[in-house]
């Protein structure tokens, strides 16, 4: 059960981060903050889960990271989804949609 739990957590985290980056480039803190805000605090990233995942995406060429100077003059490493990342995101979304629909039909949950 715990391995299923871990897999769901990991899969959903990947989906959430890639979906956010598909909208526009963001740096690590912004990604964590937005996910926490948009999910009402249900999904929360700590540094140990977020950054190793971002580096893994970078290694697989799903994202490209670049240091950019922000409006306040600070340098932040911004992540942008690549064409390869977009290609990964489409089947991931389809899998999760199918998963939620299947779960909904069994449990009777709405907006699972």
């Amino acid at each position: 059960m715990s391995s299923i739990n871990a897999q769901i957590k990991r899969g959903s985290a990947e989906l959430a981060v890639l979906t956010l980056l598909a909208e526009h480039p963001l740096h690590g803190y912004e990604i964590a903050k937005r996910i926490e805000e948009q999910t009402g605090g249900v999904l929360r990233f700590d540094m140990a889960s977020l950054y190793p995942m971002l580096y893994r995406f970078e290694r697989r060429s799903w994202v490209k990271a670049e240091w950019q100077t922000m409006a306040n003059g600070r340098r932040r490493r911004c992540y942008r989804l690549t064409a390869e990342g977009r290609k990964q995101l489409a089947p991931l979304r389809a899998q999760w949609r199918a998963f939620f629909q299947a779960l909904q039909s069994v449990t009777g949950f709405r907006n699972a």
């Binding site: 540094m47 340098r75 490493r77």
Partner: protein, 223 residues
């Protein structure tokens, strides 16, 4: 003003795994977090300690472990497995050559019929294998951790084989009645074998990797 980069570097200084880029990024994350807490109206001291909590104790160890894993698994085949295989193959070739030349390990007899078999010449030649593995890993872009892993490959394999043989012997003996195994003696023998073929060989291989690293640094600074 807190120097977050210095704080992160101090806390994640495990095997030098975190590059400047990583520490810089984590420091930026903490800085943003700290300022968001100040913006929420928290006193500076409370905001600082709450931010620091993210890289303290268990969380810090977990973060370091995750980075170690990511670092080790990055391009694993080219940077660890292939150089490691070179280390392992060369160590086995040396062992075979010594056997062909009838160079026997030195045997030290201990109590209860136990003995320690010390392949001294093989252990003396192992640093060359460890050094070669570390150099190939470096040439393929391996990090420090990956170079260490590549040079320690033979010890890991031998340790795994010895433990596997113990487990299989234990499993087989369960199907045999009155096998008469003295498991305390078997465990002692295994500990002795592990000492020679895992611990001593690991020290020898690491020594080679350390010398190779030193030579590489000297030659790099000379050019």
């Amino acid at each position: 003003m807190h120097n977050w980069e210095l704080i992160v570097r101090k806390r994640l200084r495990i095997l030098g795994v975190c590059s400047r880029e990583i520490t810089g990024e984590l420091a930026a994350h903490l800085e943003d977090n700290y300022e968001a807490l100040l913006h929420e109206g928290l006193p500076a001291e409370v905001a600082f300690h709450r931010t620091l909590r993210q890289i303290k104790g268990r969380r810090n160890r977990w973060l370091a472990l995750r980075f170690l894993k990511e670092d080790l698994m990055s391009d694993f085949t080219r940077k660890v497995a292939l150089p490691g295989l070179l280390t392992f193959t060369s160590s086995m070739v040396i062992a075979w050559a010594l056997d062909m030349a009838h160079v026997q390990p030195r045997t030290i007899f201990l109590a209860n019929g136990l003995f320690l078999s010390l392949p001294i010449l093989w252990l003396c030649l192992l640093p060359f294998c460890g050094g070669a593995g570390a150099l190939v890993s470096h040439r393929n872009g391996g990090s420090r951790l990956q170079r260490i892993a590549a040079s320690l490959f033979p010890s890991a394999i031998m340790g795994a084989v010895l433990l596997l043989s113990l487990v299989s012997e234990f499993a087989i003996s369960r199907f045999m009645q009155d096998s008469g195994r003295n498991w305390a003696l078997v465990a002692s023998a295994l500990a002795l074998w592990l000492t020679t073929y895992m611990v001593l060989s690991a020290i020898s291989l690491l020594l080679g990797a350390a010398v190779a690293e030193k030579v590489r640094r000297i030659s790099a600074s000379a050019t």
